[in-house]
Symmetry: C2
Subunit: 259 residues, 2 copies
């Protein structure tokens, strides 16, 4: 996933007491302090990570396809090239995640398959009807995925975490989408109302497909609620979804799309 601009950062970054003795973040504990070889000895943790990598890999491949498709709606060759660039970046993320699955001895296709229906469903339900809807979707999808990657990273062993953060911390391609959408709203303010509805629908579909995945995939869900990590209770996954939704709402307001 591509990174957000710094002003997009969700406001739940870990806070440390800023005293003179607290210059470094607290050392990781539990799973986060282990490397892959150690953590993967727990078969449930291993299954959860395979699920996660499979879901992220197919998510990137599906995003590639959608962005390439939406590039056709571009009004200019420059815009087309920008969306194609985002698509190509997603493909490279896909490659890294797929290669990691192969590295740990998993068949990438088998790891991705459980998530095909939910992700294809999301994209089918949210096919943009025009260029601006496509841009808002690219930006929203990018941002939500970044938030999710950051959230999940803290529950991972050090090797998997490094991969997830590397894929996330690529570049901020979505900035151009923001510029274009803002300019369109400035030119015709009524466009903003329509796009605000669209952004709400995107978030609604994303949440409903996530629910489906959480309900289907035991190992992954258990990891998300902290069952095999440390210090998370059942309410934690609900809070995570709330934080992601809130960050989304703030970004939409900043974009001129009042919810």
């Amino acid at each position: 996933m591509r990174s957000m601009t710094s002003s997009d950062k969700p406001d739940h970054a870990p806070e440390t007491a800023a005293g003179p003795a607290a210059e470094t973040a607290p050392a990781p504990t539990g799973i986060a302090a282990q490397d892959w070889a150690t953590a993967a000895a727990d078969p449930q943790y291993r299954a959860a990570v395979v699920d996660l990598l499979g879901a992220l890999a197919y998510g990137e491949l599906a995003a590639f396809e959608r962005l390439a498709e939406d590039a056709k709606l571009a009004p200019t060759l420059e815009d087309k090239a920008e969306l194609a660039k985002m698509a190509s970046a997603e493909f490279h993320h896909f490659e890294r995640l797929r290669n990691r699955l192969a590295e740990i001895g998993e068949e990438p296709t088998r790891a991705m398959e459980p998530f095909v229906a939910a992700l294809d469903g999301f994209h089918r339900q949210t096919a943009p009807s025009g260029w601006l809807e496509g841009l808002v979707k690219a930006y929203v999808g990018d941002s939500i995925a970044s938030d999710f990657y950051r959230e999940v990273a803290v529950r991972l062993d050090s090797d998997t975490r490094a991969l997830v953060l590397a894929v996330l911390d690529d570049t901020g391609h979505a900035g151009f989408a923001v510029d274009r959408v803002r300019a369109a709203i400035d030119a015709e303010p009524r466009v903003g109302g329509r796009l605000a509805l669209w952004a709400r629908r995107l978030m609604g579909e994303a949440l409903s497909q996530s629910q489906r995945v959480v309900a289907d995939r035991d190992a992954l869900s258990t990891m998300l609620v902290g069952g095999v990590a440390d210090g998370f209770d059942l309410g934690e996954v609900g809070k995570m979804f709330s934080r992601i939704t809130e960050a989304h709402t703030k970004r939409m307001s900043a974009l001129g799309l009042a919810a």
Copy 2:
């Protein structure tokens, strides 16, 4: 463009007398011996190269879009990923060509625009109706483009030639297409007849769109027939098309698609 496998090489590679004194190829003469700064002083040569880079750049961008679209027809996730990989490679070729246009002070969009109609026309006329047609198109398109890049490279100044050959000499992505098509024909030989017709249609459309470009773009055509390069007469461009067509026919036979 991606390179062909060595067995695919057209048989018109320059031959040198293989005597003991002839260990190196003859030194380039004329334009081919000049760098960009020198060659571009001729405004007609400059216009021809801008045309060429614009045509190649939009060709790569359009190929990206088509391959990404055709990836949807893939029967498996692995096949989808392979086609997405080819698409992503085309996007990177596009980026190099576009950046070169910007480097020499040309507006990339303006350089590409004259070729949009012909390339979009080609893709519209040859939208594959299924996965195998998509694969044959990917392979044929890749190979014809490689042949054309090689042919045109010898008429270019050293800097432009290096770029064109670098874009060409990327990797042989099309090998997987060949494997898949061969397996499908082995499994059901009648498929071969249908795909042979399809390959002929692809070549026909490619030639007819090329004619259109040649008729429209004076500077580019003059370069192709040798007007601003050296040692080529008017018949040469016809011979070039013949060589490309012949190489195509040989490749199709090797693939089990008798013309």
